[in-house]
Structure formats: C-alpha cells, structure tokens
C-alpha cells in the first residue's frame, strides 16, 4: 500500500496531523480517515463483533462494515465512527475498538478458536443453568457475554456541541449528487422549481469522484456543478445524508456542519437536522457494490473492487502491489485497468465462462491478465492476505478443476451492485423484484411523489443514467408546478456499462457446494455461510427468522453488503428463487445517526416549554423554591434562612390561618364561556345546575368524563348575561378546553357558545386568612363587607391603579378571596399587597402550604381526582343534579361505579408524632396485611391548626367506618402507623371562618 506521487483529489500542500492508536498517519486535506490509514500501511483497523477477527478497510463509503473506530476524546469521544466517511482534520486522533489489550493481540480472538461451538443460535441452547426458578446462572454468563459484545465504548460525559433543526419546503428534493442526481437537479432547476440537492459526500459527483481528475467524467461533473451553483432556486447541501423518508411529503436530512473540523467553530452546530417537505422527490441514491463470498473473504487485504479504484483515483493510494481482482461482472474491469495502469501487478478472475472479446482486448492493453471461468475459493494469510486458492468454476460457482495457489497482497472483489432503494422502501414498504437484473428495485407508481433515477433503478448505461435523471427531474418540476423549460440534457461521457446478468454467481464453493474455510456473509457480525445453512437446517427458514437467528444484516451497516448474499444462500437452501424468499424491511435511518441531531435544542431546560406566572420574576427574586406543576413552575415554599420544606410549609400555613397569606394561583385554568346558550352548556358539562346563577355570583362545579368518573372541578362566575368565567384545575385546563370545543363543534352544534382560554390574560392571587378582608379593603376601593360580598360573590375594583375582579371564595377554609388581575398588572398588585400587608403580618405561601390548608379543610385535589374516582367516592354526589342529564350522568350509574362498598373519601388522624406517607395502604387493625388493602392514603400533611398529622384517604365503605382505628402501612418505607377514621372535613366543618 502506498501513496502515489501524483493524482487524486487530495491537497498535497496541506498535510495534516492525524493519528490512529497513537501512530501518526500520512494524511492530507481531502483524505478520508480510511484513505489515510491505507496510505500509511495500516492493515488491521478493527476487530469483528463475535470472533474478534482482525479486519481491514473493506469499502470506501457508508457500507463499510470493518473500519469503525473511536474518534476524538473527552466529551467529544465518539464510538463506531466509519473511517471511510470521516474526513480528516488537523489534530484528528482515533483509536481502535472491540480489542483488548490492543488491536494486534486481542484476547477476545480466542472466540475464533472456539467458533465451531459458537455457531448460529448457540446461546439459545446453553447457559440455561441447573437451577429451577432462578435466572442466576444465565445472568452470570451474561455479564461476560455483554463485556465481549458491543463494539465501541461510549462515554458518560455530556456532549458539548449543539445541534440545530430547520424546516424547509421545496418543489423538488433530489437525493444523491451523482450523475443522475446532478441532471435531475439541473432539469428541475432550469424549469424554475425550488430545488434542494442533497449529497452525503463533501463534494458533488458521486461515483464520478472515483474517476481520475481531469477525465471526461470529471470535466462533465465540473460543468454541471457549475451551472447548478449559479441557480438561485437550487440549494445544494453537501455533507448531508437523507436518512429518512416519512409520511406524506416529509424527508429528514442530516447535515454534518462541523464534523470535518476538530470542533465546531463560531457557535456553529455540530450537525443540522433538516425536515424537508417536498412536493416531489427524485431518489438518485445509486448502488452499492456487493462482495463475492469465499473462504477467508474477511481477511485484511480483501476489499471491494470499486473501493480499490476509489482509493486510487480519489486519494492517490494504491492499495497493493500484487492484486487479484475477482468478479462476476464487467464493472470491476475498470478497477483492474486503473490499478494496472497505476503500476500494480493485476490478475483478474472472471467467474463467467465467456466475456466480451472487446473487454478482453482492452484488458490486454492495460496489462491485466484475465482468467475467465475462474474464482477465488479461499484467501490465506496471517494478518493480511498473502495468497489465494483459485480454481476453474462452473456456472453455479463450484470448483470444477485443479486448485492452484497464487500469491497476492490484495484481493479486490465484486459480485455486482445492489441498488440503494432504502428511502423508497421506508416510505412504500417492500421493494419489487426485477427479473432482468435479479435485483430488488423500487416499484414506483406513476402517481408517486417519490420518483427514482439512475443506478438505483439498475440502469445499464451511463447514457441512460444521465437522461433518466434529467427526465425525472423535469417531470418532478412539472408535477410540482414549475413550468419552465428544462432545455437539453448535457451529453454523456464515456463510462463502463453495467450489463444485467441475472445468472451471476454470488460465491465460490468446493465441488460439493461448501465454502472452503470460514466464508462470511455478514462481516461485522461474523455470520458465515455455514451459519445460514445451520439455521435453515433447524427450521429458521423465513427471512425474518434467519436474520434474527443468525443476526445477519443487523450490524451497523444494516445489511448494506450482506443482504443479497444471505438471501441468495437461503434461496438455494430452500430451492426457491430470491424473490420467493422475500426480503427484510429497510428501516430508517439510512445510516446510524447521532441522537443529538434528532433532538436539536429540545433537551436540558428546553426539553419541554416552561410556563410562567406573570408574577414569576417576583418569586424568583424573593427566594422562592420552585416546583413543577405540569408545564408550570410554581412557588413551592418561601424558605426563611436555612428552613426546610417542612418547617416552611407549616409556618406558612399556620400564618395564613392566624393572620393573612397570599399565594399566586395564576396557573388555574381560566376559560371564557360566552354566548346566549352558555348556561345550557354549563348545565350539560357540569354535574350541578347553572340556570339560576345570577350575574355577580359564582358557583363551584364538578365535571365528569364521558365514562362517568370525575374529571375536574372549579368555580365558574357569571360576569354578564352571556358571559361566564370558568376556572379549572391547573392540570386539566387544556383537556377541559379541548373537550368543550369538541362537544360544541361536533355534538352540540346547536348551542351558541364560544369557549376561549383566558389563562394568559389574568394573573390570580388568592388572599386567605382572618385579615384578608381588612387587607383588601385597605388596598382596593371595593366594599367587601360580608353583606356586600358574601361567599360566592364577586365585585370589580381597583388596586394599585389596576382594574381587578375580586371573587370571594375559599380553598383554604379561611376567609378568602381570589383577585383576578390583567396579567401585565399582576406583579404590581402583588407588590401592593405585600407592602400593604406588612401591618397585618402578611406572608406569601407556596403550594405545599396550600396543600396543607386544603387537606385540613377536606377539599379534594389531584391525588383524589385521580381518574378512577366517582362523585360518591369523593363525597361530591350531593352536587349532582337529579333532574337533568349531564356529561357522564348515565355511565356513572354502572353497577361497579355505584357499588356502596367502594373506597370513599375519609379523614385520617394519625396517632403519634410521625406523619403518614401518601401512597400508604390501609388495613383493619387485625388480620394480615396482604392484597390491595382496604384503601390508600391520598394526601398527607401536618396540620398546624389541629396540632397533629392528618391525611385524606379512600377507604372501602369509608362512610360507615368513622371512628374506627385502622393501620396505615407503608411497606416500601418499612413503617406501620395507626390512624383514626374521621370525616375529611377536619377544620371548621361548619365553614364559619370562610363564611365569616
């Protein structure tokens, strides 16, 4: 292996510092990592998955199964990086993987010696272990298996780079920048369509980049690329891979913005995710060369013929001195000729019995020896291939004559080409089978918006590739509504044809149909021809069974190299044709894709949007500890210096009962219900009646789901004749609104009602405590006397120059008001209350204290309205009107929901000085503590007002058990308490305080 003095697309003026396992490589700008490895004589680049066999560079593109490395280090460390698609940069460091202690002496290679015992599915048959009802033996074995498995090593360090998403819309998306893609983009661009042309390589050209610089092909590429570059309506994305074709018109592209650099620069993302919506798309994704199968076909020094040519012409690396090219088709001849011309001693073995005379003549001219009707039966060599056994073969690939051993240092192979139909099948399912080429091809219908062009269709000549690309591009533009003229297709250049031959062999075998030595179908996963045979023998005959039993096609290349050969062997075993065997399904992504790129910015604090009260800034500035409530951040408690949550909530709750407290309840869902039929609407959606509610009043309401369980509760005020103001719980606001809109737009179209969220319009402050009225009277112009504003009434007023609405209602059980303030004035009103409250010893309180107050009062909340409780369970059946139907009124009467022994809401007074934990189970004082218990604890708190720990719970037949002492068992906390069952109205059951 050596770097040539001239030629290639590398910049010899720009040598780069690149190392592999600590050894410096010869590398220039324009190299891929695999090119630099080959240029530097690196033969073994990695170890295989199962047998840890040494492997070398096998391909030159995304299909590479062997050359996977650890790239970079520290937080930018990345495992399983394909050297063949990694552009080198100055300072690149990479190391080998899946080898210990090192690549040369890998302990794991012992598996290779025992491979006969590790054949397909061996682990299903052993490691079962002697112990009944125990998985211990297997798990012990598994520990070792897991360490040996896997490929690269990941890191626990956080990725320092950013990823970006973009959404673009175009008329024509062209996938692939090879000859067909270039002409497709050209035609569509000339027609005036908005075109996006995507190419995964760093440059446009596709296979043309493997032609010599200055060749006709290269000149053609430059001229077409130049014309495309001049079109404003054509966007060219290089270093970008179309990884997925999703529903409708959606494609996902991943652009590697900074991967060719040591690290992203100037705040640029590492990668960019493009979500493309394309009216039409042209898939010009080309084809991937297929390997021939024979014994020892995995040895370093064996590689795809086109890869050898690519390394030569693009990177000026001659991969060997004495090269055997083994093929079953015409296309490998060009590789042989170029390698010969570059100075290698090349022998070409063609499996076919007869070959076109012109081709043979050309070979003679290039100094390439051709043996027709011959194949490689086995490759030999330690570390690297040093010789091959060749033999004359018949049309089935079986050796028919004497075997001879020929020395060589490189074996370049080709068994034909497999079209890359991945994106088409992602969208449309299984491909069709083309008998002429014996290949799976896309089967587009005339109407499909995803068209195909070029080698992906197994087109035989370059002329046709180019004209088909052009025609498909023009058609796509026309279908997308671009009506300009595409003009004339650029003339083709000379290139080698790809004549179809459905009868080509896929492997070379001994006289009795065996491979000679280990012959690998899936290189990375070490699946041998004999594994496929064995799976067949054991009855794993379906393509899906065989894939899963042998793991063929499941490696990081997802079968790009192995699928067709595996199918061919299966077909032989079953005596069927390949299409009758079928094929597995290609799934996105086309190539392994960084998770970060699919996430973009939606991680960390941006994982989900955050919703903030208009008074949020004040809470933050005043030291509130915040908690999540769905999307919202809410003040949990306001700790004084060094105070714990428990100390703080007890202080805050007690304070509200003694003096006055305020809490930000802006998170309550608020819905404007408007229209002449609003009362009828409320009557239907709430269990209680609304026809009598007068303007200026409000009322508590409960609503059920359609299935009769409780959904939500809250107060609704009547602001005007046709104007109601509904509140919902924080958690259910969106659900209630969507449900109301659904009913109004589908089932209740006759009701003239609109519902609109006004949660964002209003900040809300609850003011609670004996001094609440005094405080509000001081800051507002309203008359809040008991007579003027009894409970469940509201008034409009002004506080701190802001218009507000003061609702008199209580959640805490105290004398309490809710002040509704236009959001932009909310902080101002809050601050006014804080200032004015000094003389009343006002203190803000958070959600934990709010919880304590509502538990004392026996109000239900989320832990009780948990989706499985009924009105009766929660002691709310008194609200249900008997004379009118409402949502859920029929299904709530199903027998199980109506069972009198169901768990019902009770209070629990905990004995002793330790609180119960919510989620504890309830059991009678006597008997086993087994099963589901007699109920559970839903909410707990220390009650400052009662001076004891209390809880709410749901207890079987609870109403009949008041006064009973029961056990409260928290198994996971190893704690059993006793509690007395009481009414859930612990505090001020008569409501004297809130009505005072």
């Amino acid at each position: 292996m050596k770097r040539l003095e001239t030629g290639g697309r590398i910049d010899r003026e720009a040598p780069l510092s690149v190392s592999f396992d600590g050894t410096a490589l010869s590398a220039f700008q324009g190299d891929t990592l695999s090119a630099a490895m080959l240029a530097s004589g690196v033969t073994v680049v990695g170890r295989s998955f199962k047998y840890h066999r040494p492997r070398g560079v096998y391909a030159a593109g995304v299909e590479e199964p062997n050359a996977l490395v650890h790239l970079r280090d520290g937080a930018r460390h990345e495992p399983n990086v394909r050297a063949t698609t990694t552009e080198v940069f100055d300072g690149l460091t990479c190391t080998s993987q899946n080898a210990w202690p090192n690549l040369r002496y890998d302990i794991g290679a012992v598996n290779n010696l025992f491979s006969r015992f590790l054949s397909a599915g061996f682990y299903y048959k052993t490691f079962i272990g002697p112990f009944r009802n125990s998985t211990r033996f297997w798990m012990m074995c598994e520990t070792f298996i897991r360490k040996a498995a896997g490929m690269g090593r990941g890191t626990y360090l956080e990725d320092p780079d950013s990823y970006e998403k973009r959404h673009v819309h175009c008329d024509v998306l062209v996938i692939g920048g090879g000859a067909a893609g270039l002409t497709a983009a050209l035609a569509a661009g000339r027609a005036g369509a908005r075109v996006i042309l995507v190419e995964q390589d760093s440059e446009l050209g596709g296979a043309i980049l493997s032609d010599p610089v200055g060749s006709d092909a290269d000149n053609w590429r430059i001229s077409v690329t130049k014309e495309l570059g001049g079109m404003d309506n054509v966007q060219i994305l290089t270093r970008t891979t179309a990884v997925g074709a999703y529903d409708s018109d959606t494609f996902v592209l991943i652009e590697r913005v900074s991967d060719h650099l040591k690290a992203p620069e100037n705040h640029q993302p590492r990668q960019r995710f493009w979500q493309v919506h394309a009216k039409r798309a042209v898939l010009a994704s080309g084809a991937i060369e297929r390997p021939l199968i024979f014994g020892g076909n995995d040895k370093p020094g064996v590689m795809l013929a086109h890869a050898a040519r690519s390394y030569l012409n693009r990177y000026a690396v001659l991969v060997g001195d004495t090269i055997i090219v083994a093929t079953n088709n015409d296309t490998a001849y060009q590789a042989a000729f170029d390698l010969g011309t570059a100075g290698a001693n090349v022998t070409l073995l063609d499996a076919r019995q007869s070959v076109d005379a012109a081709l043979l003549a050309e070979a003679k001219g290039a100094g390439v020896t051709v043996k027709t009707g011959h194949g490689v039966l086995a490759a030999h060599g330690r570390g690297r291939v040093s010789a091959v056994e060749i033999a004359p073969i018949d049309a089935g690939g079986r050796a028919t004559g004497p075997i001879s051993r020929v020395p060589c240092d490189t074996l370049a192979i080709s068994a034909g080409w497999t079209p890359s139909v991945h994106l088409w099948t992602q969208r449309h399912g299984k491909p069709g089978f083309d008998d002429a080429s014996a290949l799976f091809l896309a089967a587009p219908k005339e109407t499909d918006a995803l068209q195909t062009a070029g080698s992906v269709n197994a087109v035989e000549t370059l002329e046709e590739v180019i004209t088909q690309g052009f025609a498909q591009g023009a058609e796509a533009a026309k279908q997308a509504g671009a009506d300009g003229a595409a003009g004339i297709c650029p003339a083709a250049f000379a290139a080698r044809d790809w004549p179809h031959d459905p009868d080509v062999i896929w492997g070379v075998f001994t006289r009795d149909g065996k491979t000679k030595g280990k012959a690998f179908v899936d290189l990375q996963h070490d699946v041998k021809v004999s594994d496929i045979d064995q799976a067949h023998q054991e009855g794993y005959v379906s393509v899906e069974h065989l894939k899963r039993y042998t793991t063929t096609g499941m490696a990081t290349d997802q079968g790009k190299l192995s699928n067709m050969n595996a199918l061919s062997r299966m077909a032989e075993q079953r005596g069927l044709r390949v299409p009758e065997v079928g094929t597995t399904t290609f799934r996105p992504p086309f190539i392994p894709t960084a998770i970060g790129a699919l996430v973009g910015h939606e991680h960390g604090q941006h994982f989900r949007p955050t919703r903030l009260s208009p008074m949020h800034q004040w809470h933050v500035e005043h030291g509130a500890k915040l908690t999540q409530a769905g999307a919202w951040m809410r003040p949990w408690y306001y700790p004084q210096s060094g105070e714990t949550l428990t100390a703080a909530y007890i202080r805050e709750a007690a304070h509200a009962r003694e003096h006055v407290g305020i809490i930000d309840v802006s998170t309550l869902g608020k819905i404007a219900v408007q229209g002449p039929d609003a009362a009828e609407f409320l009557n239907r959606i709430y269990v209680n009646g609304w026809k009598t509610l007068q303007v200026g009043r409000l009322r508590y309401g409960v609503m059920l789901r359609e299935d009769g369980f409780v959904m939500d509760d809250g107060a609704t005020a009547r602001l005007g004749e046709n104007d109601y103001f509904m509140t919902t719980t924080t958690a259910n606001a969106a659900k209630v609104l969507g449900f109301a809109e659904h009913l109004l737009q589908t089932a209740w179209k006759d009701l003239r009602v609109h519902v609109t969220t006004v949660t964002d319009q209003w900040g809300t402050i609850a003011v609670a405590g004996p001094k609440a009225r005094t405080l509000l009277s001081k800051v507002s112009d309203a008359d809040l006397n008991r007579e003027a504003v009894p409970n469940n009434h509201f008034v409009t007023a002004t506080i701190a120059d802001s218009p507000v609405r003061i609702h008199r209602m209580s959640y805490s059980g105290e004398l309490a008001y809710e002040v509704y303030i236009p959001a932009g004035f909310a902080t101002r009103v809050w601050e006014r209350l804080i200032d004015a409250g000094t003389e009343f010893d006002l203190s803000p309180y958070g959600t934990e204290a709010m919880g304590a107050l509502r538990i004392e009062k026996g109000h239900v909340a989320g832990p009780e309205i948990e989706g499985r409780t009924t009105l009766k369970d929660l002691g709310l059946e008194g609200f249900a009107a008997s004379k009118k139907p409402f949502v859920g009124s029929v299904l709530r009467q199903r027998p199980v929901l109506d069972d009198p022994t169901r768990p019902t809401l009770v209070g629990l007074e905990i004995e002793g000085q330790v609180g119960a934990k919510a989620g504890s189970l309830l059991f009678p004082l006597q008997g086993e503590t087994q099963g589901h218990g007699d109920g559970w604890v839903s909410s707990t708190t220390y009650s400052p007002a009662l001076g004891k720990y209390i809880a709410l719970g749901l207890l079987n037949n609870g109403k009949q058990r008041l006064g009973e002492t029961i056990r409260v068992v928290n198994f996971v906390g190893n704690e059993t308490l006793q509690a007395k069952v009481t009414s859930h109205h612990f505090f001020d059951p008569e409501g004297e305080r809130q009505n005072g």
Binding site: S248, Q275, H277, D707, H742, T746, K749, Q893
Partner: protein, 91 residues
Amino acid sequence: MIRIDCPICGLRTETEFTYGADATVTRPAMDETATQPWVDYVFNRDNPRGWHLEYWHHVQGCRQWLVLERNTLTHEVGSCRLAREVDHEAS
C-alpha cells in the same frame, strides 16, 4: 410526518394537531338514559384497517375540530372538513 390540509389554515404538519379518534360514532342525545348506547359511543370502535374518518383538533392553529379521511394502513390522507360542517347522519 402526516400533513393535514386544514380548511382554514392550509397544509400543516401533524404536530399542530391533537387526535380525536373515531368520527363515525354519534354521541347519543343528552336525554338518552339507556346504558348501552353510551357504552357503544364511549368504548366500542370499528377500528378499520384502511380508510377511516377521524376527528383531529387544530389546537395550534384555528382550534377547529376537523373530520379527516385517513388511511390507517398507509397514512395517506383524503378530504378534510370542519367537523361543524359535517352532517353526521350523512357521513
């Protein structure tokens, strides 16, 4: 990424919508007191494999409930109408 042609807003991605399930069921009249019609409406489904009529709610757009024809096997979409303009008995 399913794309839905909202009659009000135009062609949009599915992420702007929430799914409202089967649009072929008819909610019983409010005064229906028998259990079975409600059980059928709330719980039982045709669940076709192929073309289906479904409710979708354009929550991040015009907030209209839509009736969309969609193929559950291929995810192709057909007509899309405002639910309020769909005569239920006729559909």
